[in-house]
Symmetry: C2
C-alpha cells in the first residue's frame, strides 16, 4: 500500500478523503450500527475506490475510533456554543440546548439517536478500546454539564444541595435513556417527559406539570 | 424438514431444545449483541446439532422475537414478585427491586446490561418487527411501574403532583440510561447515582445526599 502521497493523494487530498470516509461511516453507523456497517458499505457510500480503506485506517476498530472522536468533538463544540452563551442564565442555556436536540431528532424522523449511546450498547461488551474511548467521551460531557450546574448554583438558579458532578451524570445518563426510548418508540414523547421531569422535578424542584 | 415428531423430537423434546436455544441465544446476545451472534454460535453454545435451527425457528428474526419474549416475561415475573409483595410500602418495594438489580449487575462484573435496552439500540433502526416488540415491552414495564406509583400516591408516599404514567416512563428510561453508562464505565456508580436522584430527588422530594 502506498505510503507516499501522489498528486491525487497528497496531504490535503488524503485529509479530505479520510474526512469523507468518517462522515459516511458516521451516517451508516447511526442508521444501522457498527457491526452491520461493513468497510465496503462505507467506501461505497463515500464514493471512494474499493481497496483504499486501509490506506487511511489500519483497522475497522481504528475507523470506529475516528468516527467516535469526530462525533464527540462536534457534539462538544455544539454544546459549548450553547452552554457558553452567557447572555442567558445557565439553566435557560441548558434548556435551549435540549430543545434544539429534540427538534433535530424530530426533523430526522426520530431515527438514529446518539452515536455515543448506540456504540456503548453495541460495542461496550466486546470492544475494550472503543469502550474506554466511549467512557472518556461521557466523562467529558459530564465535566461540561457539571461546570454549567456550578454556574447555576452560583447565581442561585439551582438547588445548592445537588452535587454538580453526580447531577451531571444523572442528567447525561437519563437523557441517553430517553433518547433510546424515543428511538424505539419512534416518538419524541420520551424526550419531552425527560425535559419536564429533569427541569421541573430535579433541577428546579417546582410542581411538575406533565 | 421434519414436521412430525419422532421419539427424539416429540413435543416435549422439541420444547426443551427450543428453550435451550433461546437460553443460549439470550446469553450470547447479552454478551456480544444481536448482529454478532450467528445461528451457528447459538447451536454450538446450546450443544444442538448443526442444521436443526430452522426446525425450531423460521428465521433469525423469529429467534430474536423468542429471545425478547422470554426475557421480557422473566423480567416481568421478577418485577411482579417484588412489586406485588404488599407486606412492604410501595416505594420500599421499588427500592428493594432496584437494589437487587444493582447487586445482580455487580455480581456479573458490570457486563451485559438490559437485553431490551441493548436490542433497542442495536436493532431499533433496522428491524421494524423487533422494534415494535421492544416498544411493547417498554410499555408493559411502564404500566407495571405506573400501577405501583398509583399505590404509592394512595398511601401518601409519593407526591400527588406526579402523573403516574409519565413518571413511570421517566423512571424506566432513566434507569436504562444509567445501566448503559454502568456498562460502558464498567462500574455500578451510575446505578447508585440513579437511585439517589430518582428516589430522593424525584419520588420523595427530600434533600439529596449524593
Amino acid at each position: 500500500m502506498a505510503e507516499q502521497g501522489t498528486a491525487d493523494t497528497g496531504p490535503s487530498a488524503k485529509a479530505t478523503t479520510k474526512a469523507v470516509l468518517v462522515d459516511a461511516g458516521t451516517r451508516l453507523i447511526l442508521e444501522q450500527g457498527y457491526h452491520q456497517t461493513g468497510i465496503q458499505d462505507v467506501l461505497q457510500a463515500a464514493g471512494v475506490p474499493k481497496g483504499s480503506f486501509y490506506y487511511y485506517f489500519p483497522s475497522k476498530e481504528a475507523f470506529g475510533q475516528a468516527v467516535i472522536a469526530q462525533f464527540a468533538a462536534a457534539y462538544l463544540a455544539r454544546l459549548e456554543q450553547c452552554l457558553g452563551d452567557t447572555t442567558a442564565s445557565p439553566l435557560t442555556r441548558l434548556r435551549r440546548h435540549q430543545e434544539e436536540l429534540l427538534a433535530r431528532f424530530e426533523r430526522r424522523g426520530c431515527r438514529g439517536g446518539c452515536l455515543i449511546g448506540n456504540l456503548s450498547q453495541e460495542t461496550g461488551g466486546s470492544q475494550p478500546r472503543l469502550r474506554a474511548q466511549l467512557d472518556a467521551v461521557f466523562t467529558s460531557w459530564r465535566e461540561r454539564y457539571a461546570q454549567l450546574f456550578r454556574e447555576a448554583q452560583a447565581v442561585g438558579e439551582l438547588r445548592a444541595d445537588l452535587d454538580p458532578e453526580a447531577l451531571a451524570d444523572f442528567y447525561v445518563d437519563s437523557f441517553e435513556g430517553a433518547l433510546l426510548r424515543a428511538k424505539v418508540s419512534k416518538s419524541p414523547a420520551p424526550l419531552r417527559v425527560f425535559l419536564t421531569y429533569m427541569f421541573d422535578g430535579v433541577l428546579q424542584g417546582r410542581p411538575i406539570e406533565a
